[in-house]
């Protein structure tokens, strides 16, 4: 199984998420993660979808099927080495007592994780990175007792010097600045 990251640029209309996910369900493909946001262009949304698949040509077919949806502007399928990607995780732990102090400096330096909230009874630590880095940190922090753990979907940009501009259809785009 290989990871594929599929980036879909669409007009921002209701129901589009459904139209896209139907293509995966119909082919019985499990979506590992899915993230949606508006891009630097007004009215253009970006879906980042991660799937695992054995056959590259099947993934190419899916990419073409997604492209066929009327509101879709562009679709790209990437292997991991073709993108810069990241995820974010939040860890909620009980506020450390003297017995189990938290080595904040080590967390910052070694794990590149940051305490974003420190309260009397709980602490929230944010860790961004690859899946592996997040799980390394997970194992490190586990002895503290994790109250809640949440990981975002992958976000990714292509390893090319071009921006979106190069791929979207010609139009007078408005920018979100």
């Amino acid at each position: 199984m290989t990871n594929y990251t599929i980036c879909v640029f669409t007009e921002n209309t209701i129901g589009l998420l459904n139209k896209i996910t139907i293509i995966f369900t119909r082919r019985r493909i499990n979506i590992e993660s899915l993230t949606v946001c508006e891009t630097e262009r007004k009215g253009v949304s970006r879906f980042t979808i991660v799937i695992k698949h054995e056959k590259r040509d099947e993934v190419e077919k899916i990419v073409r099927q997604i492209r066929r949806i009327v509101e879709v502007l562009a679709v790209f399928g990437y292997l991991d080495d073709e993108i810069v990607y990241n995820e974010t995780a939040l860890f909620k732990i009980s506020t450390p007592m003297d017995a189990k102090p938290l080595d904040v400096e080590f967390i910052n330096r070694h794990h590149k994780a940051w305490v974003t909230y420190w309260g009397l009874d709980y602490v929230v630590i944010e860790k961004a990175g690859s899946e592996k880095e997040i799980y390394d940190f997970f194992n490190y922090i586990k002895p503290q007792g994790i109250l809640e753990f949440v990981r975002s979907g992958r976000i990714a940009v292509g390893r090319t010097p071009q921006g979106l501009v190069a791929y979207l259809p010609d139009a007078d785009w408005e920018f979100n600045l």
């Binding site: 139209k19 077919k61 066929r68 009327v70 879709v72 502007l73």
Partner: protein, 589 residues
């Protein structure tokens, strides 16, 4: 998409928006429902197939004032509306329009929408919806039409404000009719129908969209690569499909095969794009297609697929299909390329534009030796299948009926077939001369398609003689549309080939399930009496001796007519590629 008609009803009457305002000068601000009427007129819609109900009533009220400009046809079931719109579209080349209410009205359309997407038929379905404030509350006759139709339509949109109407209807017609055509569903909430627009109505046709831009003219490099493969081929073979008819490329196809000398075969839905008597036309493809046309796909060195999509009914086991040849695929929808077969030279574009672009680059050729290979198989098929089907011994056979119909109508009729053995016999034995002469549900195989579709075809192409060829099983799925035909006095000629069986299923049970006939025998009603009950004349032909006279009566009758022909009960359709087998395993008996 062009307009296939030379004669078009009421098309010119629809004059657009300017003089509309002049007729109703006091109303400059109109309701969403009336905006829909004006939008339809601006799209030159002359016919709507529909059925009223609660959530669409404001629109029907607006329609009341537009009856002189839009011909609304009241069907008997919304499924009938959808197939009638499909028949209309396929016979005329124009987009079919349906208008129905929410809930059950919408769900009754679903079969037709699914049929239209898979057979690439342009259709705009306008569906009433509950008030937008009630959406999601399980209100009376509320169905999530957006959700239900999303996977089976080309595009759908919910209108919740009257101001959206002109822009969305313009998009709907553009999307339905361009590129690879298909059905569009517009879910129109009741409040958006009733409310007044906030500005005077203005209509602008949609000609392009940012995110949807089908490529018509293929890329030069692709055309050059395809031409090179074609020019170097020793045994090239053209497989063409519905795309040729949709893009009106039949003349270009003819010119192309005549210049290159390449034999060509049709898919089921491509039938009639080439005159079957043309010397370079070798027959049709697929499960019940011709013998040599199927087998020789394995002997070609270059396959030129034009406006077809390698459906599994064509390829059989697709892993064993065309393993030796290089493929040139002319196709308007990029997602079809390499969906089934590895393709050496894709040509993404409209069939007509692509053939025009290829024409100057391909060499004149003859390929007579290769072409002769088809003849060998033809004579074997003729001996083993055709002569048996037409031996004139024993009970009357479907093949005789269609052959005689073809002779008597000079191959110029428009055949609308239903689904089953009769569909395959109609495809095999009718000698199509003109394009757009075989209309059937191919991709979905929807029983009950033919009666409403034949009605729609006659409405869309009134100058053509339309013959509905229907099985006894299929007829009982949509026979209520006899009422529509009678009310509109539409001269559709209906032939029921009655074998008292769900014949196609029975054939499979005989051949592949040890003749264990599981629920395939029908106790049929008196079809002629039913027709007469609807006010449609008809009679039954029971023997071979009566056939000539019966067909003459049907053909010459002034008005709709139903002819029931009692045919051999247990005929099998051959040739046949057993399901899942490779095409080389095609059987003649």
């Amino acid at each position: 998409m062009g307009n296939y008609l030379t004669v078009t009803a009421a098309q010119d009457a629809a004059a657009g928006t300017d003089n509309e305002g002049a007729q109703i000068p006091h109303k400059t601000i109109i309701s969403g429902a009336e905006a829909l009427m004006k939008s339809l007129l601006a799209e030159n819609v002359d016919t709507i197939f529909g059925y009223p109900g609660g959530a669409i009533m404001p629109t029907y009220d607006a329609l009341y004032d537009y009856q002189d400009r839009i011909n609304h046809i009241l069907v008997r079931h919304e499924q009938g509306a959808s197939h009638a719109a499909e028949g209309y579209a396929r016979a005329s080349g124009r987009t079919g329009v349906c208008l129905v209410t929410s809930g059950p009205g919408a769900t009754n359309l679903v079969t037709g929408i699914a049929d239209a997407i898979i057979d690439c038929t342009p259709m705009v379905c306008i569906v009433g919806q509950v008030k937008s404030t009630l959406l999601g509350t399980d209100a009376f006759q509320e169905t999530d039409v957006m959700g239900v139709t999303m996977p089976i339509c080309k595009w759908n949109y919910q209108i919740t404000h009257p101001d959206e109407v002109p822009e969305i209807i313009a998009k709907a017609f553009f999307i339905a009719g361009s590129g690879k055509p298909g059905p569009v569903v517009i879910d129109f909430t009741r409040d958006a129908q009733v409310a007044m627009m906030t500005a005077p109505f203005a209509y602008k046709k949609c000609e392009k969209m940012l995110s949807y831009r089908p490529r018509l003219v293929p890329k030069k490099e692709q055309v050059e690569k395809a031409a090179e493969l074609i020019n170097n081929a020793k045994r090239p073979y053209i497989l063409f499909g519905h795309g040729v008819l949709i893009s009106q490329a039949q003349e270009e196809l003819k010119a192309f095969v005549e210049k290159t000398g390449i034999p060509c075969a049709s898919t089921l839905l491509g039938l009639s794009a080439m005159d079957v008597n043309h010397p370079l036309y070798v027959g049709w493809l697929g499960m019940h297609g011709n013998y040599g046309t199927n087998i020789l796909t394995d002997h070609a060195d270059v396959i030129i697929a034009i406006g077809m999509r390698f459906d599994d009914r064509v390829t059989g086991d697709s892993t064993k299909y065309i393993t030796q040849a290089k493929i040139v695929h002319i196709e308007i929808d990029p997602s079809e390329v390499e969906k089934i077969k590895k393709t050496e030279a894709p040509v993404i574009g409209d069939a007509k534009e692509s053939l025009l672009a290829l024409m100057p680059l391909v060499n004149a050729n003859n390929h007579s030796v290769w072409r002769n290979e088809f003849r060998k198989y033809e004579s074997e098929e003729h001996q083993k299948v055709t002569l048996r089907d037409l031996d004139g011994i024993g009970e009357l056979k479907m093949a005789e009926v269609i052959t005689r119909l073809s002779d008597k109508t000079n191959g110029e009729g428009c055949i609308v077939a239903d689904v089953g053995q009769h569909q395959m016999v109609a495809a095999r034995y009718y000698r199509f001369k003109n394009p757009h002469s075989y209309i059937a549900s191919g991709g979905l195989g929807t029983m009950g398609f033919a009666l409403p579709a034949a009605f729609g075809a006659k409405v869309g192409a009134p100058h053509r003689d339309v013959y509905a060829v229907i099985g006894d099983g299929c007829f009982q799925m949509t026979l209520q549309e006899l009422g529509t035909i009678a009310q509109n006095k539409t001269p559709v000629k209906i032939i029921i080939l009655n074998n008292n069986f769900l014949g196609m299923v029975r054939q499979w049970q005989q051949l592949f399930f040890e003749k264990r006939y599981s629920f395939v025998e029908l106790q049929n009603p008196n079809f002629v009496m039913i027709a007469k009950g609807f006010g449609i004349d008809g009679h039954t032909c029971k023997t071979r001796e009566e056939l000539e006279e019966s067909l003459d009566k049907l053909i010459d009758f002034d008005g709709p007519y139903l002819l029931e022909v009692m045919v051999e009960k247990e005929t099998n359709i051959f040739p046949m590629v057993p399901s899942g087998a490779s095409v080389s395993e095609i059987r003649l008996d």
